[in-house]
Subunit: 227 residues, 2 copies
């Protein structure tokens, strides 16, 4: 058993498979977890309901949903209903990329962390089975960690912010194994970019395909609710 | 006369004296300016009306107001009505500091810039006559510029983002002189942290005091509407 640290952490929780696993890992490290979800105008906003269920079930201290209207600027298949979600693999950075999304999410997490007196922020980015997004790479996270020191009152006063990305180098199958060992109920998580209002997945988008392959490779029955 | 660049820029426009001057400078450099204001739950949200007037009068291409509910996390006299705005000078970073505000604002500007195909972002931060906020320092801006390259699809594809902070080393009096030369009507700008719904200033807060001293030092009649 790890020694409980009794420290507060902010955990970015989307409602998907990865961030649910991250929450379970942060809790296992003894952190008191304050979960932050962002309603940014995503077409799969049903994931926010999943996030609430997951936070409650795993034992987070608190769950907050903050609203930011990224749909007002568009530029992504996830926020602009006129840009369809691709249903077959492509090359390069896909149209589901949301401009500056992780920079924004980490900025919100940083603000809340500072108010809470926390210096630990957990985020479920992954650089193995991912979609090629630039803001999921380790160099991006290091740059944000550096920025956080300079950006904040507590950083100036000597606090050391740490951006934890414990999934960074894990395969999707490994993430699933870790989550199961920590009590995550993956049937509650929603990864699909175009999940219907009942939370049922399309089975065709990038996110669905990567998730399904993960369960297959982990040798675990896929609990996803498909439509 | 500078040669027009015909390039697009995103300009963070609060409705205050500094950002109005920045907009006038960006326009004078020939940029097509897309102004972004943020409704973050600030007690002086009347500044958003001022921003709209200023953008229209100076000739911006567009003005958008994005909503982010920073009041949900509190932690600042500007977003928490239970924390009074100080009316006499203090020491250290004041309670009007809003956790991670400029990181958030720049993240929103970066997202919009990417959608517009712009790589230039203007922000009115100042490191001379300012309130001691950590996210108004040159090292913070350099760190964000570095982050922007790593965070974005266009950065990965070779675009070079530039964060312009043309007021960084100017005194408030110099900012006022530059703004007047570029046609800014400072009577339209609102700097007061607790401006009333009619936009009238208290004359007592940090922001009011720095502004009034600026007009005095510039030898310009103060056009501020006080209550």
């Amino acid at each position: 058993m790890p020694t409980p640290t009794l420290k507060k952490a902010v955990v970015l929780l989307s409602g998907g498979l990865d961030s649910a696993t991250v929450l379970s890992m942060a809790l296992a490290q003894g952190f008191h977890c304050y979960c932050l979800s962002v309603n940014y105008g995503q077409r799969h906003s049903v994931e926010l309901m999943a996030a609430r269920l997951i936070a409650a079930r795993l034992g987070a201290q608190e769950h907050r949903v903050m609203g930011v209207d990224l749909a007002a600027i568009g530029g992504s298949a996830l926020t602009d209903l006129d840009v369809p979600v691709p249903e077959s693999p492509g090359t390069g950075i896909p149209v589901t990329y949301v401009p500056a999304r992780n920079t924004l999410f980490l900025a919100l997490a940083l603000g809340w962390a500072e108010v809470l007196g926390a210096t630990d922020i957990f985020v479920g980015v992954n650089a193995v089975d991912f979609s090629g997004y630039p803001d999921c790479r380790p160099e991006f996270l290091s740059a944000f960690e550096y920025l956080a020191q300079l950006a904040t009152k507590s950083g100036v006063e000597g606090a050391r912010f740490q951006i934890h990305a414990p999934l960074l180098h894990l395969s999707k199958a490994d993430i699933i194994r870790v989550g199961i060992a920590r009590g995550v109920d993956f049937s509650q998580t929603i990864s699909c970019y175009q999940a219907d209002p009942g939370g049922r997945a399309c089975g065709k988008c990038d996110s669905c395909r990567i998730r399904a392959a993960g369960f297959l490779n982990a040798g675990v029955a896929d609990p996803t609710h498909y439509r």
